[in-house]
Symmetry: none
Subunit: 416 residues, 2 copies
């Protein structure tokens, strides 16, 4: 079962908006076992929409279209679709009534253009819009399904969740599918590939492995397709276990949607422990990541952003002699920062970071991207030197934040 996602309209083509609809739809379809074979963004012209539909229907069983259903003149999707499927528009009194009720409820004036929204193709199934104005249309032709929905994300999501996904499930015979994602940390793609090459080389043909890298982490996604869900699940989980045994907890932070900050939160809660941060060059990003998780207040006490040397001394009692002898970017400084955070804030764990994020400020001895990290509990303090050799401030901050969080994860797990 193959699907094509098609967006219509200039907003995406001129780079005005990021196409988040397609990501969401792709996830939901994949979860149902419908592979998204292609995504296509076309402009608002009859010729282009038709050529996109021709291409999509040449190989896809399902085409989900978003956009081009507004009340303005450049929104021609429904006319083109009516033409394409050899039918005409008709005035749908039921849809018009639903629309006027919807608008009146919100105190919006019912202008003439609204009538046009109730002009809809015959010979298709119409779904009224519970969250907005444009209705969705479900066409069938030669055993294939084409659905057109508005491009407003929450309207599209509502159509999909309340109607389209379940209708697709009923309409098509779907294969069994099972996904498993292992999230690795601290290893590059090619080193992972080398370590797990025996596993990868002996993968059965119905299981695929994809590497999904981002800064500091690589997600390994196993996807199995077949007819017997339980069998696919069992086989895939066995392979995931082999990957886990090969890379171990040291390099695996979790599975699925896990992030360093969620895993750390779970570990701290499980240990009934608290943490705090003392950041210089990361400038608050570590605290921001930790607090991006709902409920972080149960384990995160707070932190310092000690950007100036003055504040390192005033707030974290870093010794003047330490700063003079070793500098702010030094192992000695981050050790004092971490230890005094634990002491002053009465928490169980602390992260401290001090470095040169760049793009300027480096020296021959301490080039841009030189970043010292310390993680500590009440018993010990572990330091690590990161040398990114990169001039990119944002990347250096992100790499340092992720490395520091991973060090904390390993400290809590007893791996340091």
């Amino acid at each position: 079962m193959k699907a094509c996602l098609m967006t219509i309209g200039d907003e995406i083509l001129i780079g005005q908006i990021v196409d988040t609809n397609s990501v969401w739809m792709a996830q939901k379809l994949n979860d149902l076992g419908i592979a998204v074979f292609e995504m296509l963004s076309v402009s608002d012209t009859q010729e282009h929409i038709v050529s996109g539909l021709d291409r999509a229907l040449a190989y896809a069983d399902i085409v989900l279209i978003t956009g081009g259903l507004g009340p303005t003149k450049d929104d021609i999707t429904k006319n083109v679709l009516a033409d394409y499927f050899g039918t005409a528009l008709e005035f749908r009194a039921d849809i018009y009534e639903q629309l006027t009720t919807f608008l009146q409820k919100r105190g919006v004036a019912v202008v003439d253009a609204i009538k046009n929204m109730a002009m809809l193709p015959q010979n298709c199934t119409i779904f009224p819009n519970q969250k907005g104005m444009a209705a969705a249309m479900w066409f069938e032709k030669d055993d294939k399904v084409v659905v057109s929905m508005p491009g407003v994300p929450y309207e599209m999501i509502n159509f999909m969740e309340t109607a389209i996904l379940s209708q697709l499930q009923q309409r098509f015979q779907l294969p069994a599918i099972y996904h498993h994602t292992t999230i690795t940390v601290g290893l590059g793609e090619s080193i992972i590939a080398e370590k797990i090459s025996p596993i990868e080389d002996s993968l059965p043909s119905y299981i695929k492995l994809a590497y999904l890298p981002s800064l500091g982490t690589v997600r390994l996604r196993l996807s199995a397709r077949g007819s017997d869900y339980a069998f696919l699940q069992q086989t895939t989980n066995d392979i995931a276990q082999q990957i886990h045994d090969t890379l171990t907890e040291k390099y695996i932070l979790g599975t699925g949607e896990d992030k360093l900050e969620t895993v750390i939160g779970q570990l701290l809660l499980a240990n009934n422990a608290t943490m705090a941060t003392a950041e210089s060059c990361t400038g608050g990003q570590i605290a921001q990541k930790i607090t991006s998780i709902a409920g972080a207040s149960r384990y995160f006490k707070g932190g310092f952003v000690v950007y100036s040397n003055e504040l390192k001394t005033q707030l974290l009692n870093v010794q003047d002699t330490t700063l003079k002898q070793h500098g702010a970017v030094s192992e000695a400084t981050v050790i004092e920062m971490a230890n005094n955070t634990i002491k002053n804030l009465h928490c169980d764990y602390a992260i401290a970071v001090s470095g040169i994020a760049g793009p300027d400020g480096g020296t021959a001895e301490k080039p841009v991207g030189t970043i010292w990290i310390a993680v500590a509990n009440r018993q010990k303090t572990i330091t690590q030197l990161l040398q990114t050799a990169r001039p990119h401030r944002d990347i250096n901050i992100e790499l340092a934040s992720n490395l520091a969080l991973n060090q904390l994860r390993k400290l809590i797990l007893g791996l340091l």
Copy 2:
């Protein structure tokens, strides 16, 4: 001049990543006067890549491809391209040397898979990757250009900015085009449209105005197309000046790529002043934004993330009675946080924020999205209550951060 943007790989089709590359590329191409006619995401198979290329080359003059260039087995793009353009791969010793130097600089082991990265098609122009491993390839055929770049955003951006965009300008005859963006803050799209409607109604036909909204700001983008660059620039800048005179500094934070945090940095430097932050619900995001700007250490002393009430008292001397009588989310609390930050950290300006970011933790009196903000200098303290009425943690944090930064901007400018 028409372009097609093509992404290769399963990451986008399975909904694992949002395609931000295409947005960035579409913006840059449009800036040059190259219209993006279509975007296409295809899977990692020879057949699909070829069929995508066939479609793209049928109407586009330029095809920019990202993705599918990694060292792993599912990355087949360069082999398919070599085939497609009737050439073979060859080992490029120069690229291999550049690659090993790049890796050694970062202390990364040079494994065997790296050799494969230096196997590149003959009969195309190779651009070495200054930020990563996979080289870019520039093919020409029948007066059309196909460029293949890695999908890692900062690698792609570096290729585009240092080579591809200028090469495209040279290679094709492009129209004169001039853009000017005014960045407004604190006003909704429809209110802006009402205020500047006389200007918008009298725009010459060769100048277009687009509204580009995001959380808290709306960018107003004037785009002029013609043959005489100097004339376009003059006319567009005159109109931008009219918009500025209408909306004034109160609602205009800057132009081009200005952000609140860059403008605040410039204002503080110009006033030889310093600032610090005291954050509760924003969890470090304001400090993170301020320190994302290179050179922030010249005006940013540091800050507190006082997530727990205990730390609000311990680090910022918020009175126990204040917390008991008014709660942590209150005007009285943020006033004390802001004033004591100035007093304790000896800085000229402070931002303080305390609120309920959600999704849980709200009450009838203080629902989720209730956020108090204070900005202060040594003379006065100005508070503002934000009530987002939204359950989204990330959006609430972003809205609060932007509002707080804009309040600080206005305070420094003497507008509060």
